[in-house]
């Protein structure tokens, strides 16, 4: 029943998309500047039906309708309701439906919220966006249908991978999808802008809010993914330069560059083609990321089952997008005489773009290089954190300095009248850094430079709050929080403590300033797993503080999996992080203990960073 309903709705959506394209094409031929009323109506119906289609799938997960293969493979009747629902998008087929929802809703909202822009531009955007929607709907129906049924109906489902049963991961995909699928709308708008010759300021104004929405959600999505990795994977880190993490970071770099170049296009009416390239690049990188994750050519906790047929489809789709973009770009490109003074705000925005492109190329190379060497020379290599850290970190130092100075510069022609205050702020940053070294401990030269540059950005931004008018507040908040983010990552890295040892019940072990005792082991029975819960006392002889931590070894039955749950005590100064794993046929347990200072402030900084995006969005909406 639910299978039929879902399939029927998918077909109706194909029909509606085609109808929108047909009507938009017809409307393009009319001379007046009015879009047919029925285009609005069909678009609204399309968004409503695609939502109903998704709710049908959620319903199938909630009532555990195992007649659907997707539900059978990714759910279990004993799973808590929350994870039954989040299981809807925790798999390949369901997540594709989420893709289509975002494509459709963004398409409808762009249509109704940009009424003051040219008719042809809006219609072309609608046509291209609906071509994308059609592409994905066909992909779903032909290859990855979440409503495919199975007969005979299994009595029980296979369950959802336990490491995916986490609140952070339940909201991670929707946030990330709003980010990178949302970028589809300015891909379509950029194509439409080239086709309809709707360029310059007006184009920038029409897409600014959409870039802000996708950037903000992409930032939050990456944050939630990192929080999940930190709490759930039990490795004590939050960013591993895993190829799939990188896949989410690549569009983020392009979006950030776009966000800044839009400022120049809006203010000075220059850099139009560069902005177009960034619009196209962002969505192309998003689809490339999806290809890498879904085709199974990368290996990671995120990758879905290996299926080349999915890969082929996305690859064809990606190729069409790339070549259509190149075709329009090459045929519409006209060299412009954009004069930009080397000492002006425009130059600083361009510098931001260069840095973003540098990071993008670095991460792209690191991610794709192993695939290329494997394909060309059959040589399997892996590019890990040492590559990224050694290439990216030194460049961050210069980036932070420019990020602090750039916003102070004036449009068109700048004068460095504030050289004195820059030097004063720099001295303040150096002083604070050496105060940290003096009172706590010393660290490497590169760490010193990272901390000085981030402090420089923080102090500059704080000064800015006092002297700037309220207009620049969203930017100040984002820059300030980025400074804090780098500062807290730097401090957390330099001051973290890590201990790895084996311990048995009743044993006490002293390592440096810490004393560890495994006091108790208890068995607990939860709805969907059993757990061995350890009670560990950690005593710090330096601070005289005593903490009790409760790490768990969880045994899930559906599917049969063993996971190690870290016990984490968080406070404003830092996290105490402890995992316990069993050593087979031994009475000892392997204990990994970490003290990670200021972790919570890393999360807070990213939340603040995206808050800057939200604030800018509201400001932009108010202005329009």
């Amino acid at each position: 029943m639910l299978s039929n309903t879902g399939n029927f709705l998918l077909f109706i959506n194909i029909f509606l998309s085609s109808l929108i394209i047909y009507n938009s094409y017809k409307c393009l031929k009319t001379k007046n500047n009015i879009i047919f009323k029925n285009i609005y109506q069909i678009s609204l119906m399309q968004s409503t039906l695609v939502l109903i289609c998704f709710f049908t799938l959620i319903a199938a997960f909630v009532v555990s309708d195992f007649s659907l293969i997707t539900v059978y493979q990714n759910s279990h009747s004993l799973k808590p309701l929350f994870y039954k629902i989040s299981g809807t998008w925790g798999n390949h087929e369901g997540s594709l439906l989420l893709w289509v929802i975002i494509l459709t809703i963004f398409s409808f909202l762009f249509l109704i919220l940009n009424k003051n822009h040219s008719k042809n531009y809006r219609l072309y955007t609608l046509i291209i966006q609906n071509l994308l929607i059609l592409g994905f709907l066909f992909f779903i129906i032909l290859n990855s249908n979440p409503f495919s049924s199975i007969n005979p109906i299994p009595k029980e489902g296979l369950g959802l991978n336990p490491i995916l049963q986490d609140p952070a991961l339940a909201i991670h995909p929707p946030l990330l999808y709003i980010g990178f699928v949302g970028s589809s709308i300015y891909f379509s708008a950029a194509m439409a802008s080239m086709i309809s010759n709707y360029s310059g300021r007006l184009f920038a104004q029409s897409i600014k809010s959409w870039v802000l929405i996708s950037w903000t959600f992409q930032t939050l999505g990456i944050l939630v993914g990192s929080i999940w990795a930190y709490y759930e994977l039990g490795w004590g880190g939050f960013w591993f330069w895993d190829p799939v993490e990188n896949a989410s970071l690549l569009p983020w770099f392009a979006m950030t560059a776009l966000l800044h170049s839009l400022l120049v296009l809006e203010k000075r009416n220059t850099l139009y083609f560069w902005t177009i390239i960034l619009c196209l690049l962002t969505f192309i990188l998003s689809v490339t990321g999806t290809f890498l994750v879904r085709s199974g050519i990368l290996n990671s906790v995120h990758t879905f089952a290996n299926d080349p047929s999915r890969g082929i489809y996305i690859l064809i789709f990606l190729s069409l997008m790339i070549f259509a973009s190149i075709y329009f770009l090459f045929s519409k490109y006209r060299p412009t005489n954009d004069y930009i003074n080397s000492n002006s705000k425009e130059t600083f925005v361009l510098i931001n773009n260069w840095f973003m492109m540098f990071y993008l190329i670095t991460v792209l190379l690191g991610t794709l290089y192993p695939i290329f060497t494997d394909a060309i020379s059959n040589n399997k290599i892996s590019v890990g954190p040492p590559f990224y850290n050694s290439v990216i970190i030194p460049v961050v130092i210069a980036f932070l300095f420019f990020m602090a100075i750039g916003p102070q510069a004036k449009w068109i022609r700048n004068k460095f009248s504030n050289l004195k205050s820059i030097l004063l702020i720099l001295s303040g940053a150096i002083f604070i850094n050496f105060a940290i070294v003096y009172f706590f401990k010393s660290y490497s030269l590169i760490s010193n430079l990272i901390l000085i540059s981030s402090l420089f950005l923080i102090i500059s931004s704080i000064f800015d709050i006092f002297k700037n008018n309220r207009l620049g507040l969203p930017r100040i908040i984002s820059h300030l929080s980025f400074g804090f983010l780098i500062l807290f990552i730097g401090l957390s890295h330099n001051f973290s403590v890590e201990k790895d040892f084996n311990l048995k019940l009743g044993e006490v072990k002293k390592i440096d300033d810490y004393e560890f005792a495994l006091l108790d082991l208890k068995l607990s029975q939860e709805t969907n797993y059993r757990a061995v819960v350890g009670k560990l006392e950690v005593n710090n002889s330096n601070t005289m503080k005593r903490r009790t931590l409760y790490p768990e070894i969880r045994i899930y039955d559906n599917p049969q999996t063993l996971t190690y749950e870290a016990s984490i005590q968080t406070n404003f100064l830092g996290d105490h992080y402890l995992t316990m794993s069993n050593i087979d046929r031994s009475e000892y347990y392997n204990i990994k203990f970490q003290h990670k200072p200021l972790m919570i402030w890393i999360w807070v900084s990213v939340i603040l960073l995206s808050f800057g995006g939200f604030l800018s969005l509201f400001k932009n909406a108010k202005n329009n």
Binding site: F291, S295, G296, I297, L298, N299, N306, P308, G311, I312, L315, L318, S319, I322, F323, I326, F330, L368, I371, F372, D374, A375, I376, N378, K380, I583, D584, R585, S586
Partner: protein, 173 residues
């Protein structure tokens, strides 16, 4: 000049997309393709009990040898153990057990409890020798003939199906 730049950009994208296409059909997980049908390079394994070194010469004496990588701490190794015990009764097959990153005392306890299916026993305390066999994790098993040519590789614990496959190979003439 502009034309050259445009052509380079198009060619670059075509190249990237072709590599993506090519990668779709490659095994990214544990590639065993290159091992099967090839001769094992150089076998040099230390005996579990004494200072003897096992080389390719040792495996010429039996028509088939199954090299099994195992450890006492590895839970799936327990699961596959009954199948190894069954295979140890086969006439044409000898099993070489390579004890992987393990403690001798724990390994002996494991075998005392579950039985010893191994004709030869070797150890790879640091896990370095196993790399030469293309071992990523354990348990893994490699079936070779007396020329040390790899006939089949099994990743993960052996199961009923693998057992039948091995029996079929070693009993065919």
């Amino acid at each position: 000049m502009q034309k050259i730049i445009k052509s380079i950009i198009v060619l670059l994208f075509i190249f990237v997309l072709l590599v993506f296409y090519n990668s779709l059909y490659r095994e990214t997980n544990y590639s065993t393709d290159y091992l099967v049908g090839n001769k094992l390079a150089k076998i040099n394994l230390k005996s579990f009990d004494d200072n003897k070194i096992y080389t390719s010469e040792d495996f010429k004496k039996s028509r088939y040898t199954l090299i099994n990588f195992w450890a006492s701490w590895c839970a799936p190794c327990r699961v596959e153990h009954p199948y190894l015990m069954q295979l140890s009764k086969e006439k044409n097959l000898r099993i070489l057990g390579v004890n992987f990153k393990d403690k001798k005392i724990n390994a002996s306890k494991f075998l005392n409890e579950l039985g010893n299916p191994y004709y030869y026993m070797a150890k790879d305390t640091k896990g370095k020798q196993s790399v030469n066999f293309g071992i990523f994790g354990i348990p893994e098993s490699i079936l070779i003939n007396n020329d040390t040519i790899v006939l089949k590789k099994f990743i993960g614990p052996l199961n009923e199906q693998n057992l039948n496959d091995i029996k079929k190979i070693i009993n065919s003439l």
